[in-house]
Symmetry: C2
Subunit: 306 residues, 2 copies
């Protein structure tokens, strides 16, 4: 605990996190409403809904909303942006689960899109979610200034594309054939999950038209949280059961893949996660009481069990 810790209780945090999750669920549901339910091609939209409305922690929207709070923005002002980011995250899960990728039958304890429908439908559902995220960000609901919308689109695309998530997943696929170096394991994480988590934080600042200095603190918070999140993910994969995770556990070890735990060592990995979270919290103390939610969210990333 640092001396500058904002006065924001754990139960307030849990309430707010639950409100964000239910708001995102409702928002995504509205964005993915079937326009012509009688048409058979609506199977694509149904599969998109399955991929996006499966619940989950909604961590990325929480980061966007929490970051916007630093600048006094309300949930409603940033909910459209946060929803588009979560929609893009959903696309990546649908495609990562494909038989040609990670071949995952379960996600959050439920059958994945390609299991419920088929592989072609899952490819299309992912394509549809990715496309819809950008369509939505281009609309006036997101922000009255079109330059802000363009910045959000460009930033999200950079985090998602081959310099980000696509490149990270490519490395993950390469790891199935030949072992990665430690350097590559770290780069895999930065690209596959780190880039979007960092952008989720920056997006709150973009919506608030934050200055460069403020943006830099959000980037630092986001990069640290992204890496801490992945270390905890690898620890959970090592230690948890499938029941707790809602997906098969120990898969990386079985697949012989190096993880961040291998790169850092088990004890160092735990210490590093704690250090990253502390640094993240310190980066946003300038916002005072307004940083309460993000401060707690950093701890949540560290102590989560799923």
């Amino acid at each position: 605990m640092t001396s500058s810790r904002p006065n924001y209780s754990a139960s307030d945090f849990q309430d707010e996190l639950a409100l964000i999750a239910s708001s995102i669920e409702e928002s995504l549901g509205n964005m993915l409403a079937c326009q012509n339910p009688g048409e058979r091609e609506n199977q694509a939209m149904e599969a998109m809904r399955l991929g996006a409305l499966a619940g989950g922690k909604r961590l990325r929207p929480a980061l966007t909303i929490g970051s916007a709070k630093l600048f006094g923005l309300e949930l409603s002002q940033v909910l459209p942006t946060a929803s588009a980011i979560e929609m893009l995250h959903s696309y990546s899960l649908v495609h990562d689960d494909l038989p040609a990728m990670d071949d995952s039958p379960l996600r959050r304890g439920k059958p994945t899109v390609h299991v419920v429908y088929d592989e072609a439908t899952a490819v299309l559902a992912g394509d549809g979610l990715l496309t819809k995220a950008f369509e939505f960000l281009a609309g006036e609901n997101v922000h009255p200034d079109p330059l802000v919308r363009c910045r959000l689109i460009a930033g999200l695309a950079r985090a998602a594309g081959e310099a980000g998530m696509v490149g990270g997943q490519m490395l993950d696929m390469i790891a199935e054939q030949t072992p990665l170096t430690e350097e590559e394991v770290i780069r895999l994480q930065q690209k596959k999950t780190g880039a979007l988590i960092a952008f989720s934080c920056e997006a709150g600042g973009i919506c608030a038209e934050a200055h460069d200095k403020e943006m830099a603190t959000l980037s630092l918070y986001g990069r640290n949280i992204g890496l801490a999140f992945q270390i905890v993910d690898d620890l959970l994969d090592l230690e948890s059961s499938a029941e707790t995770l809602g997906k098969p556990a120990g898969r990386d070890k079985v697949a012989g893949k190096l993880t961040l735990i291998d790169a850092y060592g088990l004890d160092e990995a735990r210490a590093k996660a704690q250090m990253l979270v502390n640094e993240a919290q310190d980066a946003i103390t300038w916002a005072g009481e307004k940083a309460g939610f993000l401060h707690r969210l950093a701890e949540f990333v560290l102590h989560r069990s799923y």
Copy 2:
């Protein structure tokens, strides 16, 4: 030939079409430059280049550039937008060719992305191209006014998403299981190829900040060209050899799929394509001599042999 035919020769048209094709190839090559060639995840970018730089007619960029010409814009002013549209078209080809989709080993006479690399890489290459198209459209190179960029992004996403290409390909996949109705065959075409061809025309008007009345003529031209294009495509699939097409011929018939030829009948289909092209040409006569390229392009769509 209508009385209002612009004075623009067939050889000028061929020269201009070739210039557009080479400009698009160069532009896509620059957009898809490898940033860190030493990293193994660059396989994704290499696969993206394979998917996008395989030549082709570059019909969609030609439509965008031709539409912008109606308003006096030069090729250089609209080349970035046209390139982004072609990049998005490339994504759809890479994903459509996947084993889980149309399972095509050849495209323009060359092995497809999943054949050269593997299925996972082809999924990622398509995702990367789709994402890059939107990233690029959000940038200042495309147009100085961010509202214009947002309009391009929203319009392209609508043409590409589940109300457009994704929905059309979904219907095409459904057709592998159960026959489509004639109504569905027509809707499949409108969504799968018609929506992007129509948007390619509208995009020229959006870049030129055209008025609603002018935009309506572009939409009419584009819708007609889209349907004529697909009728000719179905005729070519029926009548050509794989050598001419650069991909297997007669696949729809073998797969037992209804095409627009089945929906309209062979003779009526030919007559309808001619009528659509005439109507398209009439829609843009208001632009006088500036309509010369689009006028010829409509004929090219009708008389092409590949």
